[in-house]
């Protein structure tokens, strides 16, 4: 039972049940506000009965030419509302906006190589591992760059996996 709407500043004061989860990062204010100021259509929250925050997604759109793509920065769901495919709903929304509104070629995301449950979920949603980013997380753990092609990328060129891993300095975007 989900009302999905744009995320607003006041939600920052209401999302503690979601963010106390240890795998959900609480970023600094300028990070959230930069996303809100620049890509408000990529930052959505799901609310349930009793005005409870169920989860949210934040992302952006960036890149040049055929690298113009949607990016999922964070997607998270409160424990109480898990196993209801809410993350899928939120991801679909971001994909839809990237595809239909911004005409992006693909959507990508980064995930810890050790986060097996999340990788499994993204895999189910149609994401493939495009490349491995060595020591992406705090210089320690590898990250996986996963991608899903959108309708504009007819030949699905954007998701052909790279043969070798890359280092964080080789990444095109932050």
């Amino acid at each position: 039972m989900t009302t999905i709407r744009r995320f607003c500043c006041n939600d920052l004061l209401r999302f503690s049940s979601v963010n106390l989860d240890h795998l959900t990062e609480t970023f600094n204010m300028s990070f959230y506000m930069t996303y809100l100021a620049r890509w408000p259509d990529y930052f959505h929250v799901a609310e349930g009965p009793g005005n409870k925050i169920m989860g949210y997604i934040m992302g952006k759109v960036e890149g040049q030419g055929e690298s113009w793509h949607g990016h999922v920065t964070a997607v998270t769901v409160a424990p109480e509302y898990r196993r209801q495919q809410l993350a899928k709903k939120l991801m679909n929304l971001l994909e839809e906006i990237s595809d239909n509104v911004d005409k992006a070629f693909f959507v990508d995301l980064f995930v810890r190589a050790s986060n097996a449950p999340a990788i499994k979920m993204y895999d189910k949603l149609g994401y493939v591992v495009y490349r491995r980013v060595l020591r992406y997380y705090s210089g320690e753990e590898d990250g996986l760059d996963m991608r899903k092609a959108l309708s504009r990328d007819v030949e699905k060129k954007s998701i052909i996996p790279l043969k070798r891993p890359v280092t964080p300095d080789e990444l095109e975007y932050d």
Binding site: R6, C9, L20, H22, T26, A37, P49, Y81, R83, Q85
Partner: protein, 1013 residues
């Protein structure tokens, strides 16, 4: 003209680049070297000077940075032919901003704009300056100028946003919106609009003026196509129509939303609300606190006629039936819950059909009972049922549960929901007997253990299935403690949660419950450890800090408290500093609705009650920490403007509207706010689920607390001053100085007395009454510290005040001093006598004791130090005279007495702490386990869950629980938990002991000083 702005102040870019590179890589010394070299060549270049200012500011030389920046600014002004480019201005702007002189940066841009009036880049810089200063009117004027210059839509919207901000945050009148509307209308007529956000602002301007029809017309016209997300557009349309009371059309729109998003619960509520012509959902939205929206649906009994009501309800039902028929996804809950909501509305209308409500809930349970959110979904519907019906519903649910066959994980979910719904329906746990509650605890705990193997293949970072069972078990155990006062239940609750955390380290729910339990028992250092493990940072501090901060404020864990406060204040202050730049970012990216949102959010945080409390408390903490050394204390006071800053806050706070941003939902039921702890009072049998808490109720009392505490720094400062002139002949030393201090201190004493609900003279009478060992009925634990503080400051005032010389013909100054000493002694001893060295003794009494030593006693210590310091004037021998204290020896006597008294008090406290420390650890542990195993196997009371736990652990086998669960289960030791709890309490007491010890040492040194007199 253009070339003038292409090169920074006429200096080639290649010469400046190394400076910026060095700054970016934080090599400031290197940067300074480059700047100095450049300055030799361009000594009068404002740009070079700005760079120098920037570098020296980063090096921490703030004064120098300021004077260099001002120099640059003057040069910029002085020379008319001087090049004026945005790079120079923006560099100077950065420096002035970092030095908290936004006004000077603004002046630079104003000057530049007046010199080059048509320059858009400079005007944007100026607009940005006004954004930083929150000067909405000037923002508007600048934006209009830019709009007139180039006619771009964005500048018009900058102006419109600035107008809206004047109305929303700047106290501007609503009619300003009409002006904004006119501007937009004119622009749209000639140029249309091109940004979706521009349209949103246009709509909101009309909406705020109640012009819903006009807004609707625009949204339905060509401009509407700017909104790309269809549902968002429909929501806006529905809202406008409903607010314009066109309910039929609004209902149609919401119906469309439901067709697109059948799971949109809010969409359904709006649909139903429109059908029933109930506008409360819209009205309340405007008034309600957006951070604490109501848990239950806002609705009113419909004013429709019976026929109309029936007809509308049947439309709603038909829609829901269709949604149900079309639902292929078995995770869509909205239509099912909607059928219950329709029954609830009928019920409210007097068309009571309890069977339908109950059946709706039972069906919902059968379908979604296994989900974690079942209870929060149905909570509001249970409200309409009477007690008998609740029992009936419970039976129905039980039957349903028994007939459902589900795979194990789902079955577990159903059982958990059943337990929860049972608590919800029976509400008041006092109706169940303790034995039943114990049995229920054991049952839940066993269920958790039995189902653990279901989680054996889960990733260790995922939660286990059924983890809520442990929180529920511990909650009932706490309830049993409240009811019986048997502390064994509390230990049992702790054991259960610790056990859960041994299996899964990350369950925040357990950690929060534990930190409150440990805090309640006084094991604050352990509570703080669990708090830290929650990794509360950034904005979470604003909503979560309340779990830890209040108890830390009255604890001896000063280092930890200091970090908590510093981190929080730094986060808030950083945000206030950077917020305007982010607002400008929203302007630049044409996300105008976010501009408004950011300014309102910053305003909300600036009025945060917790922020104000933290600011005051951070200073008081510093004063407590430095109280043993008057010079250090004076340095702290100096930084606080001799207490003036907080005095101003104290005066302002009453008229401020405070915000409360705490997330209270995550608190345990027994302490729904930081001010309330049910466990300290008698058993009341309140509802298990905390009732909605009205934060506004807190506002008045909190304002009083802030008002009162903000007086402290100034009163401490004045008391020190007052005491110092007790020895000095104030008339001789500074004729005007002393009376000012005395008068001001008296005024503050009058204000302080008001917080004791008395006038100054009444309060003095109460204090004088203590001399006869009278126990005043106006003094209680809740205001004891205030009374003692008052007496300390009263005593200090009496030292310099002539008013106090001979009120009873006898001179009462020494008497107040004596009274104060004996009060401090009396209440300290009373506290330590009432608290035995048992683990289970209530911590609240100890908190009071800690406050007593670290506040009034410490402030009194400062008064003594001040007096003593005056006895040893630097250089010449003090000539004592009788103007204040009839003779110096009188005062010396009082000081000596006081020091002896306070030493005794502290000695007693330390002896008392020592008693705790000397108890052998084994004995402490034995006591704890004795509480859990008191009466053997056939006992009443705590221990049943614990024994189940022990049996479970002893029977664990690896194959059943897998690699992740089995090892922590085997290595988990209840004795370790007991030890941790014990040491947590003892560590906290040791910190207190260290504070007492340092005070003892300082009293000792005073004794030596007195001996030299």
């Amino acid at each position: 003209m253009a070339s003038k702005f292409s090169i920074a102040g006429g200096i080639p870019e290649r010469k400046v680049r190394p400076i910026w590179d060095a700054i970016d890589s934080r090599q400031f010394k290197n940067a300074l070297k480059h700047v100095t070299a450049l300055l030799a060549k361009y000594p009068n270049s404002p740009y070079t000077l700005s760079l120098k200012a920037l570098v020296v500011e980063r090096m921490g030389k703030l004064d120098e940075a300021f004077s260099v920046a001002v120099n640059a600014k003057e040069l910029l002004y002085a020379n008319d032919s001087m090049l004026m480019d945005d790079l120079t201005l923006s560099t100077l702007q950065i420096v002035f901003q970092r030095l908290d002189h936004l006004d000077l940066a603004t002046e630079c841009y104003e000057h530049a704009c007046s010199k080059f009036p048509g320059n858009l880049e400079l005007m944007m810089g100026l607009f940005n300056c006004y954004v930083r200063e929150y000067s909405f009117v000037k923002q508007q004027q600048t934006a209009i100028k830019m709009y007139k210059l180039v006619g771009e839509e964005r500048f018009l919207l900058w102006a419109v946003c600035s107008i809206q901000l004047q109305v929303l945050c700047g106290g501007g009148e609503n009619k300003l919106l009409f002006l904004a509307e006119g501007l937009l209308k004119k622009h749209v007529a000639s140029h249309s609009l091109h940004d979706p956000e521009a349209l949103m602002i246009y709509i909101s301007i009309l909406e705020r003026q109640g012009k819903f029809g006009d807004a609707m017309e625009i949204l339905s016209g060509n401009l509407g196509s700017l909104l790309m997300i269809e549902v968002d557009k429909l929501r806006m349309q529905g809202r406008l129509l409903a607010q314009g009371c066109d309910y039929t059309a609004a209902a149609d729109i919401f119906h469309k939303i439901l067709e697109l998003c059948p799971d949109d619960w809010e969409g359904f509520l709006h649909f139903l609300g429109c059908l029933l012509e109930d506008d409360s959902i819209w009205c309340d939205e405007a008034f309600d606190d957006p951070v604490h929206p109501p848990k239950f649906v806002n609705c009113e009994v419909s004013h429709l006629t019976e026929e109309e009501f029936d007809s509308q309800i049947s439309i709603a039902s038909a829609c829901v039936q269709k949604l149900l028929a079309d639902t292929v996804n078995n995770l869509i809950r909205c239509p099912y819950l909607a059928t219950i909501e329709i029954e609830r509305r009928k019920h409210m209308r007097g068309r009571r059909n309890d069977e339908n409500v109950m059946d709706g809930i039972v069906q919902y349970f059968c379908r979604f009972g296994h989900l974690g959110c079942f209870i929060s979904d149905v909570e509001m519907f249970v409200e309409v049922l009477t007690a008998d019906l609740r029992t009936e519903l419970l039976e129905k649910l039980m039957k349903a549960r028994d007939t459902l066959s589900a795979p194990p994980i789902k079955a577990l979910g159903l059982s958990i929901s059943f337990f929860k719904v049972k608590q919800l329906l029976l509400g008041n746990m006092s109706t169940s007997c303790a034995k039943d509650l114990e049995a229920s605890c054991v049952q839940m705990f066993e269920m958790y253990c039995t189902n653990l193997p279901l989680s054996k293949d889960l990733d260790p970072q995922e939660g286990t299935h059924g983890e809520e069972l442990l929180s529920m078990t511990s909650s009932i155990l706490v309830q049993l403690f409240w009811r019986t006062k048997n502390v064994g239940y509390l230990f049992e609750a702790v054991m259960v949660l610790e056990f859960g955390l041994a299996i899964r380290r990350y369950v925040s729910q357990y950690k929060i419950l534990l930190l409150h339990l440990y805090s309640h028992c006084g094991a604050l250092s352990v509570a703080h450890e669990w708090y830290k493990s929650l990794d509360v940072k950034n904005i979470l501090m604003e909503s979560i800090l309340h779990h830890m901060l209040p108890q830390m404020l009255v604890s001896p864990l000063w280092t930890e408290l200091s970090y908590l406060l510093k981190d929080y204040l730094k986060f808030m202050d950083d945000h206030f500093r950077e917020s305007a730049d982010l607002t400008f970012l929203a302007y630049r990216h044409r996300n105008y609705s976010k501009v408004i949102e950011f300014v309102q959010f910053k305003d909300r945080l600036q009025r945060s009650s917790q922020y104000l409390v933290a600011r005051v408390e951070a200073s008081i903490l510093q004063l407590k920490q430095s109280a043993n050394n008057i010079e250090e204390e004076e340095a702290v006071l100096q930084d606080l403007g001799c207490g003036i800053y907080f005095l101003e806050l104290s005066e302002e706070v009453g008229s401020k509207s405070l915000t409360f941003n705490e997330d209270l939902q995550s608190r345990p039921w027994w302490t729904p706010t930081s001010e309330k702890n049910y466990l300290l009072g008698p058993f009341e049998g309140i509802s298990y689920y905390p009732k909605e808490i009205l934060l506004k109720d807190k506002e008045a009392s909190l304002k009083r607390v802030i008002e009162k505490k903000s007086l402290l720094p100034r009163m401490i400062y004045l008391s020190i001053q007052s005491a110092s002139v007790a020895i000095k002949e104030h008339a001789e030393i500074n004729g005007s100085f002393t009376p000012d201090i005395t008068t001001e201190l008296k005024l503050l004493l009058e204000r302080y007395a008001q917080f004791l609900n008395l006038s100054l003279s009444e309060a003095i009478q109460v204090v004088m009454g203590f001399a006869n060992e009278e126990r005043s009925p106006v003094v209680s634990d809740s205001n004891l510290i205030d009374w003692l503080n008052f007496t300390v400051f009263l005593n200090a005032w009496s030292l310099s005040s002539d008013e106090f010389v001979n009120p009873d013909g006898n001179g009462c100054r020494p008497r107040i001093w004596n009274i104060l000493d004996s009060l401090l002694e009396k209440y300290t001893l009373e506290k330590i006598r009432s608290i035995g060295p048992q683990l289970c003794s209530p911590w609240s009494g100890i908190e009071l004791l800690i406050q007593l030593v670290t506040e009034p006693l410490a402030w009194h210590g400062l008064v003594i130090q001040s007096c003593l310091r005056s006895c040893f004037p630097s250089g010449k021998k003090k000539k004592k005279s009788g103007s204040v204290y009839q003779s110096g020896s009188n005062l010396v006597h009082a000081i000596t007495d006081s020091v002896v008294h306070l030493s005794h008090v502290l000695e007693d406290v330390m002896k008392w702490i020592c008693e705790w420390m000397t108890k052998p650890e084994d004995e402490n542990l034995e006591n704890i386990f004795h509480l859990l195993n008191k009466d053997g196997l056939n006992n009443d009371g705590p221990g049943k869950v614990f024994r189940t736990l022990e049996t479970f652990i002893s029977s664990v086998n690896d194959a059943e629980f897998g690699d992740h669960i089995s090892p922590p289960l085997k290595s988990w030791s209840p004795a370790d938990v007991a030890r941790k709890m014990m040491s947590g309490k003892l560590n906290t007491l040791m910190e207190f002991s260290a504070i007492c010890d340092s005070k003892m040492k300082f009293l000792q040194s005073m004794k030596q000083q007195i001996a030299q007199l």
